[in-house]
Structure formats: structure tokens, C-alpha cells
């Protein structure tokens, strides 16, 4: 969509506007349909008994004057606890009805009634807390004691007790057999008394859940605000309403202030939920409600009533309208189900509020059935549904995010594996190439030179010993190279074992004894890092020591000692010593003139170089009693053949 705007701004803006307009019209049409449906539902009158038991003709005595009225009737008075309007009427009771209980049924009145039959009071609605709430349409029913009834006409007097802020109202009265009237009474009680209690209970649960959500997610204050609204609603529903002029009237005043505060909370909730920036003077939303609380605390009845009528009711209406606008904007912007349901609920509440207002102002002729509280509960249902929907969607998003993450991780893993395999393959190829190079060099160093010398000897026609000796040396070297290729698992002893066999075979014709001493049972420490080229260097070094002893020192006995020693830091290291009892020679590699001979000197240089390449220390001691070559193995063999020249 954004790309479209960038590409064709004019067209897109126009198109978007058209789209928005069509959406708005759609939404408005749906809301209008809802309003019509609401009006239709509200015009349905609540259950009423058969009209044959109707008593409508009354004589009203009010403020000293007496005049006939027809029920339903609105009184002018808003407060008349001391001198209530008195309705007097008559009803027919035939003696034949004595077998059946008769009742008086008052479907709707405000605020309280005291009913008397033939001068005896049979009902006082002020004892019923539910009936004392003007915002609930509580009905009343009372069985007339049979002893009170007279054959023929009976007197029915109704005292209408009115306390602010509404004017008095008395709906049509039914007098008839209890069995005919009670079903309607029960239905009305269910609808107007029980249902609000159920809703209030629901509200209480939602308040707890939302409070927990808010406590766990402090960065979402919307939940906290809604929880406050619900808690206030619950308190309002369950606190007893005061009837008499007492200290409770102050409480009463505070209670009527609850509606503006509740609506303020709901408005604040909507602002926060739909991501509006919190207005600078946002707290002013609660100003009318708090003002009403203050008035309720200190003002008198008139002031409370006036302020509620001129401040409280319009505030509720204003907030409902604002709520409807905010939700409508959100519906247009977000196009989500939650906003839409919320919007429909707000429309229903607003319609009901207008209906109640018109009823209070006596603009529409009706039976003063208040439905705002009930529809407010409908809105709570919508909010509950919306929040559940939001929660479920959030869970789905988390799931799909986790799923995507798993897929991505798997892909990355596969890629990594592939690249690792490539890298491993490359490393193996490199290692193989290195090994091949080393093998070629080893073969060339030993075998190559010896074969060349064999060729040279045979071309000179020198038969016999020198050729055989050179060929034997070549074979020995080949055996060493092949032997070093074998995996010995880092145990140099295994390589030395083969070397011992070759050395014995080499010394046997010269009649030189080889003493082999493994001074420690395990021989040498195991070096996992030991590579074939280390083995070759060490074995060649030992071979050279042996060759020196045989050829130059003229020794009769050679002793090889193998041992494991522990250095100062507690680390084991191996030491191999080759000693002979030959002539010995002067060791002065820096001074060639003093060297025993060019060949031997080269041998010594080679030995030092081989030791250095393996990181080993070579110690040469030579004297009249013989020569001692001592090789101190490193704690760790070097990885690379850095010293190779």
C-alpha cells in the first residue's frame, strides 16, 4: 500500500479516500441497523398479565388536592417522603374466587410503594433493597390475605414514595388471582433483578482478571483502567441504597456519581486500547464524576439532584458519543473484529441511554423501563469477548512466530551444516595434500638418496657389500615411512617397538648387543597430538644415534632407556636415552675443524634439527667412555612443522 502511494500519489490518495468513505458508510449503516433493532426491541413491552385484571382508574390525592388519574401516571414531585401522593382505586372481587389466592402486582413504580387493601397495608417496597434502585425496574407482588377481601368492590390504596433525583411514576396495577400474575412477576424479576446481578458477578470476575493482567503487564494501563471501571460498577451494584433521609443519603449521592466516573474509565480505556495518545488534560475526564462525589458529600438533596441531572447525565452521554467516535475511527483504521464488536456495543448502549433520557424527560410516552445499566452489561460482554479475541490472536501470533523461528533456525542450521561439511571437506583435502607432500618428502629424503647411491654404486661396478648395505638402508627407511603411516593413537611406544625390531636386525650382523630398558612400566606418556611426521623425526634421530654408534664409535653395546619423568610443575614428560660404550668424539659443531668427520658432523646437525622440529630437547655427551644421546620429549608436540627448513 505504501509503495502504491509512492508510485502514484494522486490516484492512490483518491482511491484510499474512496475506500475509507465506503468503509465509513458501511459501518454507519450497520450501526443504524443496530439502532433500529434496539428501538424495535425496546418497544416490545415487558411481560404483562392479562388486561382483565388491570386496575387503572385511580383517584390521586397530592398536596391536598384530589383528582382522578389513569395509570400509568407521572407525578410532579421529586421528593415526597413525608406527604406521598396517595392513589385510591377499587377492584371487584367475587366471592367465588375465595378458593384462589389473589395478589396485587405492580410491574413498575418509582421509587417506592406502600400498598393497602381495605385500609390494611400488605406491601412496603422499601423493605426490598432491589426495589429501591431506580435504575432497576424491579416489580413487586403481594398476596392479599383472604380475610381482607370482601365480596364485590374492595379498596386499593397505593402510597407512592418518591426520593430524588427522578420524578415519581406509577405503572398500571394488576389485581387478580396469584397464579395469573406471578408468572409475569417472575419473568420481570429475572430480567430486571437477577440478570443485572449475574452481570455484576461477571463484572467482578473480569475486574479481578483484568487487575491481574495489569499487574503482570504494567506497560498496558488499559487493563488497569478497565478493571477500575468494573470494580466501581460492582460496588455500585452491591452497595445498599439508602431510602430514608439519613447519613446514607450522602452515600446515595456518591453512588449516583458512579455512572460518570465509570463512563470516564471506559472512555480512558478505549483511548488507551486503541492506541490514542493520552490527551494532555486527560485526567479532566474524571472531573465531572469527582465534582458529583464532592456535591454528594456536602450538598443538599436539591443540589445533588440538580447537579446529577445537569452534569452527570450529560457527561455520561458525552462520553458515550466520544466512545462511539473513537471506536468508529478505530474500526476504520484497523478493520478488526474486536473494534467492530466494541463499536456495536457502544451503539447499543448509546441508543439505550437516549431511550432512558427521553423517558426521564417524559418526552416519549412509555412505561419508564430503564435499560442503560443492562446494556452497559452488554458492552462488558463485548469487551470481554474482544479481550479474549485479542488474547487468542496474540497467542496465535506467538505460535506462528515460534514456528517461523523454528523454521529459520532449522534453515540456518542446515546452511551451517552444509558450510561446515564443505569446510571439513576442504580441511580434509588440505590435510591430505599436506600429508602427501610430507610423505613424498620423507620418501625423497631417505629412500630417494639411498636408491640414487645404489644406482651409482652399481654403475661403478662395485659388487657386493656397499650396494647391499645401501639397499638395506633404503628398505629400512621405507619400512620406517610405512610404519609411521600407521595409527598408533599417540603412543610413541608402539613406534619404538617396531624400531627396536629393526635396530636389533641392524645390530645383529655387527654383533652389537642392544639393551632395552623401559624404566617406567608404561614407557612414555601418551600424546594425542602426536603426528606421523613427529614419529619419523624421532625415529630417524634415534636411527642416526644408532648409526653413529655402529659406524663411528665402534661400540660393542648400546643401551636404550625409556622413562617418564615429572617436571617441577607436575607434568609428565618422556625421555629417551641412547648410550654406547664406544670411543666417543669431540662435540664442537661450531668448529668444523674439530669435528670428528664431515659425515658424523652432518649427522649431529641433522639430529639437532630433528629434535628442534619436534619441540624436543637434545643433549649430547661424548667422552672416552662412550656417547650419550638424551632426547627430552616436549610436553606437547608442535602442530605445525614450523622449523622445517
Amino acid at each position: 500500500m505504501k509503495d502504491d502511494v509512492a508510485a502514484k500519489p494522486g490516484f492512490s490518495v483518491r482511491q484510499r479516500r474512496r475506500q475509507q468513505a465506503s468503509r465509513l458508510i458501511h459501518y454507519a449503516l450497520i450501526q443504524a441497523l443496530i439502532v433500529i433493532a434496539c428501538i424495535f426491541v425496546l418497544r416490545q413491552s415487558p411481560p404483562e398479565p392479562s388486561s382483565e385484571y388491570l386496575v387503572t382508574e385511580f383517584s390521586l390525592k397530592e398536596g391536598g388536592a384530589e383528582h382522578p388519574v389513569t395509570l400509568p401516571h407521572f407525578t410532579a414531585s421529586r421528593f415526597s417522603m413525608n406527604d406521598p401522593p396517595l392513589y385510591t382505586g377499587r377492584f371487584q372481587w367475587p366471592n367465588s374466587e375465595a378458593q384462589r389466592a389473589w395478589s396485587v402486582f405492580l410491574p413498575r413504580f418509582s421509587n417506592g410503594v406502600e400498598v393497602a387493601v381495605n385500609g390494611v397495608v400488605i406491601l412496603d417496597s422499601r423493605r426490598d433493597p432491589a426495589a429501591n434502585r431506580p435504575d432497576r425496574n424491579a416489580p413487586e407482588i403481594a398476596v392479599i390475605p383472604a380475610s381482607l377481601l370482601r365480596d364485590g368492590l374492595n379498596n386499593l390504596t397505593i402510597r407512592l414514595l418518591v426520593w430524588g433525583p427522578l420524578t415519581g411514576f406509577l405503572d398500571r396495577v394488576y389485581v387478580g388471582p396469584d397464579e395469573m400474575l406471578r408468572p409475569c412477576y417472575e419473568q420481570r424479576t429475572l430480567l430486571f433483578v437477577t440478570l443485572p446481578v449475574v452481570f455484576s458477578a461477571w463484572q467482578a470476575i473480569l475486574a479481578v482478571i483484568l487487575t491481574i493482567m495489569w499487574v503482570m503487564r504494567r506497560h498496558e494501563p488499559a487493563y488497569g483502567v478497565l478493571a477500575a471501571a468494573m470494580a466501581l460498577g460492582v460496588a455500585q451494584a452491591f452497595l445498599p441504597t439508602a431510602v430514608e433521609q439519613s447519613q446514607y443519603s450522602r452515600l446515595n449521592g456518591i453512588l449516583i456519581a458512579s455512572a460518570p466516573i465509570e463512563s470516564g474509565f471506559v472512555l480512558a480505556f478505549a483511548l488507551l486500547l486503541f492506541g490514542w495518545k493520552w490527551p494532555r488534560y486527560g485526567l479532566l475526564i474524571f472531573a465531572p464524576g469527582l465534582l458529583l462525589v464532592a456535591v454528594g458529600l456536602i450538598g443538599d438533596q436539591t443540589l445533588i439532584r440538580e447537579s446529577f441531572l445537569f452534569l452527570g447525565v450529560p457527561t455520561v452521554g458525552l462520553y458515550l458519543v466520544l466512545l462511539a467516535l473513537i471506536v468508529a475511527q478505530s474500526v476504520l483504521k484497523r478493520q478488526d473484529v474486536a473494534s467492530f464488536i466494541f463499536g456495536c456495543a457502544v451503539t447499543i448502549v448509546l441508543t439505550c441511554w437516549i431511550h432512558d433520557l427521553l423517558s426521564v424527560l417524559q418526552i416519549t410516552p412509555d412505561r419508564r423501563i430503564f435499560v442503560t445499566r443492562l446494556s452497559y452489561s452488554a458492552m462488558l460482554v463485548a469487551i470481554g469477548a474482544g479481550l479474549t479475541w485479542r488474547f487468542a490472536r496474540a497467542l496465535n501470533q506467538v505460535d506462528s512466530f515460534a514456528g517461523r523461528l523454528v523454521t529459520q533456525v532449522r534453515q540456518a542450521e542446515d546452511k551451517l551444516k552444509a558450510s561446515f561439511a564443505r569446510e571439513e571437506e576442504r580441511a580434509r583435502a588440505a590435510a591430505l595434500a599436506l600429508e602427501r607432500t610430507r610423505l613424498m618428502r620423507d620418501l625423497h629424503d631417505g629412500l630417494g638418496g639411498q636408491l640414487v647411491s645404489i644406482v651409482a654404486l652399481s654403475e661403478r661396478g662395485n659388487a657386493g657389500a656397499p650396494i647391499g648395505e645401501a639397499a638395506r638402508a633404503a628398505l629400512k627407511d621405507l619400512r620406517l615411512v610405512i610404519d609411521s603411516m600407521d595409527d598408533i593413537g599417540g603412543d610413541l611406544m608402539l613406534a619404538l617397538g617396531s624400531w627396536r625390531e629393526r635396530a636389533m636386525a641392524q645390530l645383529r650382523p655387527h654383533d652389537i648387543a642392544l639393551d632395552w630398558h623401559a624404566l617406567t612400566p608404561q614407557g612414555l606418556p601418551v600424546h594425542p597430538e602426536l603426528r606421523p611426521w613427529h614419529v619419523i623425526q624421532i625415529v630417524r634421530l634415534l636411527d642416526e644415534a644408532l648409526t653413529n654408534a655402529v659406524k663411528h664409535a665402534d661400540a660393542r653395546r648400546i643401551t636404550v632407556s625409556i622413562e617418564t619423568l615429572t617436571d617441577a610443575s607436575g607434568v609428565d614428560y618422556g625421555r629417551i636415552t641412547v648410550e654406547d660404550n664406544g670411543r666417543g668424539f669431540a662435540i664442537a659443531p661450531d668448529d668444523p675443524a674439530a669435528a670428528p668427520g664431515p659425515k658424523a658432523a652432518r649427522g649431529l646437525r641433522n639430529m639437532r634439527s630433528r629434535a628442534a622440529r619436534c619441540g624436543a630437547e637434545l643433549e649430547l655427551v661424548s667422552g672416552a667412555g662412550g656417547t650419550r644421546v638424551r632426547l627430552k620429549l616436549p610436553r606437547r608436540f608442535p602442530d605445525s612443522d614450523a622449523a622445517a627448513g
Binding site: L478, R479, I482, M493, L494, G497, A505, A518
Partner: protein
Amino acid sequence: MTLLNDERPSQAITILLVEDDAPTSWRLQDALAKAGFQVTAAATLAEARACLAQSSPRVLLTDLQLPDGHGVDLIRETRERFPDTEIMVISILGDEESVISAITVGATGYLLKDAFPTDIAATVHELVAGHSPISASIARFIVRRTQNNPEPPPGPPLNTAKLTPREIDILWGIAKGFSYAEIAGHLGLSRQTVPGHIKNIYRKLEVHTRGEAVFEALQQGLIRL
């Protein structure tokens, strides 16, 4: 290894030498004849079989790569027909695998082609005396197969299950270059018993007869009667 006295009588010892490379054959014949052995030489598998048809030698000394077949077949046949004949493989360097293959069909020793003449005679003498020679590299080859590797090392399959821990210890000692005396000292054995252990090792590595193969298959549950 101690060298045996060359002067001992060896006239009765007959050797069938099977080697196709003429100079090597001459060299071995010379070395053995000088030590007093009675040597019959054959250059091919067919010739060797012809000789075997006439008489059973005390020792069979054979190369493995022959012009008309493999020495392993000859070893197997000889082992089945003449259980008393000692069989040696003529080995070149670095071919422990071939030696092991020969051992599994019944060879009890090996001889290096380039060994000094005195060593050649001494090795045959020792074998006849009941001492199988074994090199450090062959011992190493066997013990590596006794270790429980997830990936078996390359080479011919070898059943080392029958080897006792003591025999494996002896093989380790040989692989590390210890002498029989040193091994005996480490393991608390008599020096004289070590060659017998080695002979046992050879015998245990051999997959003897068809009957034994059936028995092993039964043991492993491969066939059911």
C-alpha cells in the same frame, strides 16, 4: 628373541618353499640349505600342489602373491590335509594385513624377505620348536582390533573375542617393543610360557574348519537346526 644353535641336527626337517621371484627364492634356499634344512622349491601354486601330493613337508614357507593364485588357498589346503605341518608366510614390509589373513587360515609364523640368512634359519627353527614369531607391528594390528572401536580399523575382519586379557596384555607388550622376559616380568609369568601364549594367540585367531564355522554360526544365532 634368542638365537638357537645352528649346529643342532635339522636333517629331518623338510621345507616346501613356494616363491615366484627367482632371486628371492635362491636367497632363501641358500640360507635354509646352509642351515641344514631339506628344501623343495616351487614357483607356482600348481607346482606346490604337485609337491604336496607327493609328500607332506614339515614346514610350508609360502609367498602370498603367486602367478596362478593366492597363497592363502594353499595355506588353507595344507592346514586341512596336514595339520602337523608348520606354515609360514613370506612377508615383505608393511603388509601386516596379508600376514593376518594368512594367520586366520592357519599360518603360525611369518618370515621377512629381507631378513639376514642367519635370522631366516633361526626363525624356522623356532617355529619347528613350537615358538611362533610375532612382530611389534602385527601385535599392534591385532590389539587394535580388540579395542571396542565404533568404526573398525581397515583391514581383514579378525575375531579377537577368544583372546584372554592376559594374551591381549602380552600382545600390548610385544607391540611396545618389550622382550619376552620383560613381558613375563610385568605380568608375573615365567619367561618360558610366553611363546606358548603366542602360539595360542595364533591358534585362536584361526577360523579352523567348517565344523567350527557351523558351531560359531550356531552360537551367534545365524543358523537354526
